[in-house]
């Protein structure tokens, strides 16, 4: 046998295989594309609604509402004031509209990731088999180059908001799932035993003991998810998601240095605002761990 040539499949067979799979998938998208689009329509509506709320309200009102939300979560004047300042600067440099679109996108993606991710994490924490099954899928979601799964998503949905949402959620959901699982598994066994000894049902244990004690860890996961969905805005802009990613993409293609840096910095500003806010909120959840009063 020739030891210097790998014994590979014949070119003809390989081509036939690719064509068969591609053909089958094309048939699938033709048959089911409309149905799938209808299923995801509510998400698109939600995103459009939030976007319109942010864009069609007076900018000052939006600023006040955002600042109030940030203060409510973080209870920190420093974070709230810093955020207002950052948003004012971003607006002054002409990026208000794109920033609002990106914020809307990240909010909706995070919402989807939380709503879907926490139940999956809970199931993983209950059973080692589920955890063994889901973990490799999460690994794949985080390492598979996003362009690869963009191909089928775009084939089904075309360009636009929905494929963008799907791509971002696939990339950003693993931390919520992983850290929900971890947080629940880390709950001290003696506390769980106490819950059991007092006759808790499985649901009561989850609601009264496991979830509250896992909450700070889950918050860390949500924080990670937000950061990762922000990191995806540039990629998402390639399939037609509007926001801060588009000017960055444009700047790359046409080598506009300043434009790239400015929009990049705006993404960083949103990231810092969201990170500090969620972290401060997570810390507040752990108030009971502080000694003394």
């Amino acid at each position: 046998m020739d030891m210097f040539r790998f014994p590979e499949m014949s070119r003809g067979n390989l081509r036939a295989m690719r064509q068969t799979i591609d053909g089958a998938f094309r048939d699938f998208t033709r048959a089911w594309g409309d149905t799938l689009e209808a299923i995801f329509e509510p998400l698109q509506d939600l995103l459009t609604l939030i976007e319109n709320l942010l864009l069609r309200s007076p900018w000052a009102l939006v600023l006040v509402v955002l600042a109030a939300g940030i203060w409510l979560l973080s209870r920190s004047w420093r974070i709230a004031l810093g955020s207002v300042l950052a948003l004012l600067l971003v607006g002054y440099f002409g990026m208000w509209e794109d920033t609002m679109r990106t914020i809307a996108m990240v909010l909706v993606c995070t919402l989807i990731a939380v709503v879907m991710g926490i139940p999956v994490g809970i199931v993983m924490a209950q059973s080692n088999r589920a955890s063994g099954l889901v973990t490799p899928i999460l690994d794949m979601m985080q390492t598979m180059p996003s362009f690869v799964y963009l191909i089928p998503v775009v084939m089904i949905f075309g360009l636009g908001k929905v494929p963008g949402l799907i791509a971002v959620v696939i990339y950003a959901i693993p931390p919520v799932i992983r850290l929900t699982n971890l947080g629940i598994r880390q709950v001290a066994p003696d506390v769980l035993e106490a819950a059991e000894a007092f006759g808790s049902s499985g649901w009561q244990k989850l609601r009264d003991v496991q979830l509250p004690l896992a909450l700070p860890t889950i918050m860390a996961g949500i924080n990670q998810t937000i950061m990762m969905s922000l990191a995806m805005v540039v990629v998402a802009s390639m399939i037609g998601v509007r926001g801060l990613g588009q000017p960055v993409l444009q700047a790359i293609n046409q080598q506009y240095f300043t434009m790239g840096v400015m929009n990049g910095l705006a993404i960083v500003a949103i990231a810092i605002i969201m990170d500090r806010t969620t972290q401060a909120y997570g810390k507040r959840l752990q108030k009971h761990t502080e000694a003394g009063r």
Binding site: A188, D190, V191, E193, A194, E196, A197, F198, G199, S200, S201, Q204, D208, V209, P212, L213, H288, T289, E290, A291, G292, R293
Partner: protein, 347 residues
Amino acid sequence: MNKAGTHDIEIRDLYKIFGPDAHRHIDAVKGGLTKAELNDRHNHVLGLQDINLTIPHGRITVIMGLSGSGKSTLIRHINGLIRPTAGQVLYDGLDVVTMTPAQLRGFRRQKTAMVFQKFALLPHRTVLRNVAYGLDIRGIAAAEERARHWIGRVGLEGYEDYYPRQLSGGMQQRVGLARALANDAEILLMDEAFSALDPLIRMDMQSILLELQQELRKTIVFITHDLDEALRLGDKIAVLRDGAMEQVGNGQDIVLRPANAYIAEFVREVNRGRIIEARTIAAPATGERLPEFTVKARSKLDLVARRMTKAGVSHAQVRDGEVLVGIIDLPSILEAMVNPADAASDD
């Protein structure tokens, strides 16, 4: 508002083998396979063997043993946290071992409450919410009011809104005790409940428990590795060693008539004067004239000795109310208070 214990707990022929194939080895163990052999040959751990114990209602039964003796395993069989490999745990005509999960939940909610060595409080709940926890689970409306009552009874008034982490160990265990008492169960399971506390605070908690028990008359199972604690609290004491019951009896039995060398070694260091009662060593009164000085039958020897030396008498009559139990003298008191083993070795 509080339920006394009304039924004995009967533990019958209980065996617990830890390992994946426990049931396959149970017959061999019943046939005499030892703990060491089971471990060497089959890699299974014999947790409990041939336990038979009646836990009388309304009393404190102490299960004593060193770590690894199986005492924590045994107490968890009573509320089904651990299922035995063979045997029965009977209460009020029901066998805890054969209960369905739903029945077991009901049994735990209504009949038992537990106090843990490491307190096992919910760190994210205040003292008040912790004490109300058992009631919350059962969906009882007046949970908060009842919780406040028990917080007061264990002396934690004013701490309702503190978080567990803000309290000292002793105070945390008072919360644990209040949480268990608020559940208003007939059976109170206490797993090394005071072992993690400083000696002084431990004495304090023992006093609180004894004081509450005077009034509540719960069926209490108390686990400890501390003989002094066992003797102070236990109406009945069961000594476990390597998963087997070595001796069952009251404090007097254990100290004065140790069943074997292991128990004798265990009770060697105990202050016998504080355990042994006057009636235990009283000699029958024979025809001769009775001494005038009188002591109570249930007085402990160190108290009797102190009273007699203070009064300057060497003989006394022992009376249980009106009944004459016998006669006691200082030399016999001294002899009983000195550990026989120590006395022999110092000759």
